[in-house]
Assembly symmetry: D2
């Protein structure tokens, strides 16, 4: 069985496993106060061109989103997201669990548009009874989106501008950030993201780590006492070094980028092959996730050799499927798939 | 100035004021443990044809919704509502404040349809990753809706059926219940509602009381320890007798119904007059709220004599306005309005 | 039956009932945006010598405490209270319901001492792992305390100083504030309280109103968007005028003080009579609550004529009882009690 | 530097590292639905003599406590713990973050006594106003306690009995469970714990794993939909296999017990040596944590070679220190310590 269903089906890239093994018997203080975390923070700050940036390591994405959002908002405030945003649909109410509403914008392929934010926030404040509504206070985007799409630099700048105008935070969920940064369609760099957002995270779990997300906070009001927040939300890892060691490894010799590039290159070769065969793509993704519309029976026929994710039905006979590549995907696996498809 | 903007611009109906005055120097135990509350509970149970029903009195609607929903749901569960439902837009996140998501259904004039609930719940359970989504566990409807529309008995029965099928609670927000019950378009009685829902409240604030809502709970699992819930949510009134006395009065000699009827009769006379003049109505309401589409300049010209609620813009020159009548609205006020309009 | 069990067994003082009746047919905008609320705010600001003070009206005390505390604290922060503090034991977890811990100090007759606060906060920050503990951020006191005791001006000043030193808010629960202000033992005035606290409330429910507490907020960071907080917590009264009218009445012609004085005078006459008879008092209270230690059988013998609150057992035969007077207590009732005791 | 400060200063035991390496390139479904988790669940159920037990793997202890407690309690309920219990003092309000109060019992060396629980719960229900207090619904204990003490079988049985009597859940935090099970002072087995509690967790983080706790739930009402709860609380690990592989390894060939035994044997040799030298021990611990009262200057003199935890001051010159051993502690390190002390 070759699994294309998602990008976290394997363990960690070999470099991380080697680093964990090499450091295993070191004695280190717990809770992220060790030298590996310190070093990893420095490497990430450098990569962001943000010396002294406030970087925190957490185990998973939902935990990161929940903790950051709860730290940033006052109780009656909410966070704006696309209707298909991860926090809106796939986190079992983790944001609501902290007392906050996710305010959804009608979906435009999973992207949040500056104009839509502007209209929503204006409408809120124009309402005579605005105190009876949740106050919008943050914009949440994911980059790439759930469907593998990317914000252009111009789009990010427009979001920054509308957030500045209305006093909103801009938060970017980078669960698959690596795959976005190396996409040939991207004109956005890590320093751009660090400069344009109030907080964002660099996903490790889906880009080569065993687990782990590196959260970069640019707004001092959110940074304040953030370690209390992590502990309160149950996210403080006792052996915090594990996160430090992994991100230290990923941000040494551009490993993070190299891992991402392997996945994107292979995904694009699948993309090209699919398009050559006239297969329609549901999202126009240039990242590690591809969303072909396939005959259900075709997929059924392949189901003893490959796994894909069923994304949504188109009609009785066709559906959108998700094919993911990862740092671990091999040319051979892709070649086999393209042969069999 | 004559206010048609909303139905809680006055104090209480004279009967209530008289009852409060008559009982003022009585000494009673606090927190709803007094004879007036006991009597009012009995009268309501009778009116519902539910002897021994579990009735609680709360001060306001948002508080009632928040407390009931928080008592009914497990932490990861959510409540289904129309996109324009009161809990979805006009309660400043009071439901989310208790940790629960409001799951919205696309709006069909503010009504929740059994088929839409069925589709949503089926989709949840069919999703392989359903544990990553908020579990739908309750349907919230308001009757009349925000736009003054009514569920038919058949529609309520269909909702009951879909809730039974999927193990959902059905909760009815009756902030304006009186105005619904007396509407000539209604084929639904109070006992029908008591029989078909797991909980509902009979709105007092908007139907003649100073304040107060009578919550009737039909599901023992929600009833359990409900007084703790009221206290925890900050809703336990020290002088609980005030609620008992008001509902005792409203449910004696059909006062509740009579007050509602005055409002609906007058609203329907406005409705007829508007239609006669060719004014379009945004919602086809047969209750105490009417929603004419009027020229903004017409309304502006009347603004030193009358208040209406601005509901939403239609275009640059026209908007939907809400005209409310109440127990306190007089024939003279309506006549003046119709003369001036 | 004459009830001395608590101070909210009656309705409202006659002046309030008259005011509610006189204004009943006025039409006013809802939610506290009416002229009566505006006027009451002004009168209270004047009484506090705080022109332009931020005053909000809420229905009950638990609701007020919960809303204020949730507005003031960041998620990982807690509020310090005496072990017997109302928020610590008698609010069914209303503070925890908003996500915050009540950090209790060992009880010194229900009072919080500046030195104890200082020691607790120092210990927190000295702990190397302080991020693993709830951060103390507010001191909650009640004045009078649950046991009817009063803070002296010097004690309040010391609390202010320790709060300033450590960056804590000082919040005073004034459910029975009137009874404290008029006590012959008090050297604290309303302007003192307004000057020395970050927020406090003036209790109406227990001092002559049907219901209602006037919350005065002196810290701009807490005031910010406070009406959203009230709505979110389910505490926004639709007919907000009812609160305005009541406090307007209470703060006209010193009615609030006069009502309180009646209660305290009568309580002190009970106190003197009890002491004359050699009855021991559990708390040395000079306010409207007296706490004699009585033989259980004595109380049992009186139980068909009077109600008291059982406070706590001393031993098999004796217990502490609470005797409350209120604005409504008559000389005759007290005389009868003293005759029968 | 040799670290005795805590028992999670190293990485994982070599067997776990080997297993992670051996399985690294396997492709597995995420979120704990993989064969390693299934196998580990089975092994743990066997070890508990509870075939088919409901076992869940979480990353850390605070997360486990928070999730389990929030799943078990209704909103107005609280959990009883010792004043020094981990949930009461060292989790930054993680339990309160889910809306629940931690009700503390006066400390008896960190242990919760059945009689104290009984008295507290009786007092709650006897209070006429019990609805105004948080309802006690669960007892939380840790075994070993924070101070390394153990419950005897008789004590556990008494707790079970009082919980049954009052309808409370009994939950055992086993962060260091292994060290308790192998203690020569213990008469409690893993099946005893599985039989006597409603839920408990087997700590991995502090007993040889990189991270991970195995939660065993014996009460169906808590088990219900527990995976939703994990996700909602941000605790669902994407590569859940990592937890499965670690517990699979720990519960194969009694590795968990062997690792614990090494630590306890070495701790007891330290204990004996300390006692031989007349050093007083603050807690009478027979587990991997020892709490000698030492001269501060002695500890200072050793501070460039060893780390201990400062537990609490005794006076100006003396303090209680915590010395921890772990699976990774060597005979050589202990010998060096005893030589230098």
């Amino acid at each position: 069985m070759i699994r294309f269903a998602c990008d976290y089906d394997e363990g960690a890239c070999p470099e991380i496993l080697a680093a964990l093994t090499a450091t295993n018997l070191e004695q280190n203080p717990g809770y992220g106060m060790d030298p590996h975390c310190a070093h990893a923070r420095e490497l990430i700050a450098q990569a962001c061109c943000k010396p002294g940036a406030d970087v925190h390591f957490l185990v998973g994405g939902t935990q990161t989103n929940q903790t950051l959002i709860a730290a940033a908002l006052r109780p009656y405030q909410g966070v704006i997201a696309a209707q298909s945003g991860h926090i809106a649909v796939h986190e079992s109410g983790a944001v609501e669990a902290t007392g906050h509403k996710v305010i959804t914008l009608e979906d435009e392929e999973g992207k949040v548009r500056a104009e839509a934010v502007d209209a929503l926030v204006r409408a809120h404040w124009q309402d005579a009874d605005h105190e009876h509504e949740v106050q919008p206070a943050m914009v949440y985007i994911s980059h790439p989106t759930e469907g593998g799409l990317l914000y252009s630099l111009k789009e990010l700048q427009a979001l920054r501008q509308v957030c500045d105008h209305h006093g909103l935070y801009l938060y970017l969920d980078g669960a698959r950030l690596g795959y976005g940064l190396v996409s040939p369609q991207s004109d956005v760099t890590l320093p751009d993201i660090a400069r344009l957002t109030d907080a964002f995270y660099i996903g490790g779990t889906k880009v080569g780590a065993l687990f782990g997300e590196a959260l970069v906070i640019n707004a001092p009001a959110i940074s304040r006492d953030f370690r209390y927040m992590i502990k309160r939300q149950g996210g403080m890892l006792a052996k915090g070094r594990l996160l430090g060691i992994q991100f230290e490894t990923l941000f040494t010799d551009s490993l993070y980028t190299r891992l991402a590039k392997n996945a994107v290159d292979l995904a694009l070769s699948i993309r090209t092959a699919l398009m050559d065969r006239g297969v329609e793509l549901y999202f126009d993704s240039y990242t590690n996730q591809q969303f072909p519309i396939l005959e259900k029976k075709t997929v059924a026929a392949l189901s003893d050799k490959y796994t894909f994710s069923h994304w949504m039905d188109i009609d009785e006979s066709k559906a959108v499927y998700r094919i993911c590549t990862s740092w671990a995907t091999t040319r051979e696996a892709v070649a086999a798939l393209l042969r069999d498809l």
